[in-house]
């Protein structure tokens, strides 16, 4: 069963902005699912529709096989965009308020301990740094023990150590606690490190989706330091290009021995041949059609 199914979702705001255009995707239960997209891609609108904050013009949302409703959203925890909280409450009182709202028992101490805020449990939230608010937002999302956790840019405002902590926490929630985590991030490196699957969204549409390893493997390239390059390029045809003085061959790994034999047979000198795996950034920019920085 999927944790989340979104089918044919469309949303146009009153100002004319088409935030989502017939978007469909499925988030399988278990693991960390990344949601990637440039600013204005529709990620936050999608998450707001899933959490019931924004009404879709058309399409459907299902959570664990049930149509989205207040009841089916009970196993959902969410941190949407910037963390928001009541500045006049302490962190402990805030989590209690969230638990009362959800109608569930909560252990604020344990939740604060989990996100590293034990020392600040009784301090007013108004005095918190952005990073502390971010951690508190994650703690609030964990109130009630959700099965699906939506985290929108959860490492914003955190220092490098804090980022590593949150990444470990996210992986731990998925691996140890069995949660499904839907992680929206603009940090490609973060998604690549933390996520099992990824969806790339732009202009409200799904451009690419799949396991991170599969998406990256599809972009494997064979880099050849050869002389003369012209002979190698002629042999490769459309599958080859010259990049940074080296010949880049976009071929399957199984074709490599044949290619290398052919190059040697044609008298091409091979100084180095190495496989280079594309990073998610390259996959992302290829999918969104943007120029690589």
């Amino acid at each position: 069963m999927n944790a989340l199914d979104v089918a044919g979702l469309s949303k146009r705001f009153r100002n004319g902005v088409q935030a989502l255009a017939d978007l469909s995707l499925s988030v399988p239960a278990g693991g960390v699912y990344g949601l990637l997209g440039p600013n204005g891609a529709g990620k936050s609108t999608l998450l707001r529709i899933v959490t019931g904050m924004v009404h879709a013009d058309s399409g459907s949302v299902s959570l664990f096989g049930q149509a989205a409703s207040v009841e089916s959203r009970r196993p959902l925890g969410a941190l949407i965009e910037s963390p928001s909280a009541y500045p006049f409450l302490s962190a402990r009182a805030f989590l209690r308020v969230i638990a009362y709202t959800a109608g569930v028992p909560a252990d604020p101490g344990a939740l604060l301990d989990r996100v590293g805020l034990t020392a600040a449990a009784d301090r007013r939230i108004g005095a918190f740094s952005l990073g502390m608010k971010q951690r508190l937002g994650i703690a609030a999302a964990l109130v009630g023990g959700p099965k699906l956790l939506i985290l929108d840019e959860p490492t914003n405002g955190l220092d490098p150590e804090g980022i590593m902590d949150i990444r470990r926490l996210v992986r731990g929630l998925a691996d140890d606690d069995g949660l499904t985590v839907l992680l929206s991030s603009h940090l490609l490196d973060e998604v690549e490190r933390v996520c099992d699957r990824v969806a790339i969204v732009a202009h409200g549409r799904l451009l690419a989706e799949g396991r991170v390893t599969d998406l990256l493997a599809a972009g494997d390239e064979l880099w050849l330091d050869v002389r003369p390059t012209e002979a190698a390029l002629a042999l490769l045809g459309a599958q080859g290009e010259l990049r940074d003085g080296q010949v880049v061959a976009r071929i399957d790994r199984a074709e490599a021995p044949v290619l290398l034999s052919a190059l040697i047979g044609q008298g091409v000198e091979i100084f180095e041949a190495r496989w280079q795996r594309l990073d998610l950034e390259a996959v992302f920019f290829a999918a969104t059609g943007a120029e690589r920085r």
């Binding site: 705001f13 959490t51 006049f88 409450l89 009362y100 709202t101």
Partner: protein
């Protein structure tokens, strides 16, 4: 109940808004009443007639005063506009139905407003008895307490219905304007305009003005007169006034629920 508890915790946590909304004005009015009663000259040992029921009726009836409503609107806005102000609907909406969230806020307001009226009532009782006792006088209650309790209870119900109407307007304006000031000012201006029109038109016998302040005033006057054994309001007029007072609560509250349940919370 847990949802109301959450709203109550948020309300009390906003100490400034809670004080100005529900505590400050009763304290000022009690002080004022105490000073007035302290200025009355009976000497030591003299018997002083006090009227606790009329004092309570007047205190509970203060809900009809536009300035009392201004302060209570501040308290109501600290509930209904809070989530817009701090962009915290995102914490609540995924967890509970929007109707339930508004209902919990209304319930928290009702509890706080009732406490505020209770504070004003008890404070006024102290304000009429303590100065006399301090001067060595003997306060003597001169009213029938049994019948009076019913009158006070009925007046409290009318006042609470009127204040729920105020809260409903605050809820509606909070949803429309998404701001605290926008939630406070229009309901206050409505109450003020209602009082001004009521004073201008006066209360011709047999007429009921369909204003948010006029109908509950008529009901309170009828209850108070009934306690004195007089009858200034007919049964039909009382029912009409009750219907008008209920409508001033039900219509804006229904509009607030309708608007809020359909509202896109794209930044809250």
């Amino acid at each position: 109940m847990m949802l109301v508890r959450a709203e109550w915790a948020k309300l009390v946590g906003q100490r400034g808004a809670f004080f100005w909304g529900f505590i400050a004005l009763p304290c000022v009015l009690i002080l004022f009443a105490g000073v007035l009663n302290g200025a009355v000259p009976p000497g030591a040992g003299a018997a002083v007639e006090i009227r606790p029921i009329r004092t309570l009726l007047r205190a509970v009836g203060a809900a009809g005063n536009p300035f009392v409503q201004l302060f209570l609107a501040i308290g109501a806005a600290s509930l209904f506009a809070l989530e817009y102000r701090h962009a915290t609907w995102r914490l609540l909406v995924p967890r509970r139905s929007r109707t339930m969230l508004l209902a919990a806020k209304l319930a928290a307001f009702a509890i706080a407003a009732a406490c505020s009226l209770a504070l004003l009532s008890v404070g006024n009782l102290f304000a009429i008895t303590v100065p006399a006792l301090l001067r060595g006088a003997h306060p003597i209650a001169s009213e029938a307490m049994g019948a009076g309790a019913v009158a006070v209870l009925l007046t409290l119900l009318v006042s609470m219905l009127q204040l729920l109407g105020l809260a409903a307007w605050v809820a509606l304006m909070a949803a429309v304007t998404r701001s605290t000031m926008g939630a406070i000012l229009p309901p206050f201006l409505l109450a003020f305009a209602s009082a001004a029109i009521q004073a201008y038109l006066g209360g011709a016998p047999g007429t009921i003005l369909a204003l948010p302040g006029a109908a509950p005033d008529l009901l309170r006057a009828g209850i108070a007169a009934g306690f004195d054994g007089a009858r200034v309001v007919t049964g039909g007029q009382a029912l009409a006034a009750l219907a008008i007072t209920t409508a001033w609560f039900a219509v804006p509250m229904a509009a607030a629920v309708l608007l809020f349940t359909r509202q896109d919370l794209a930044s809250e």
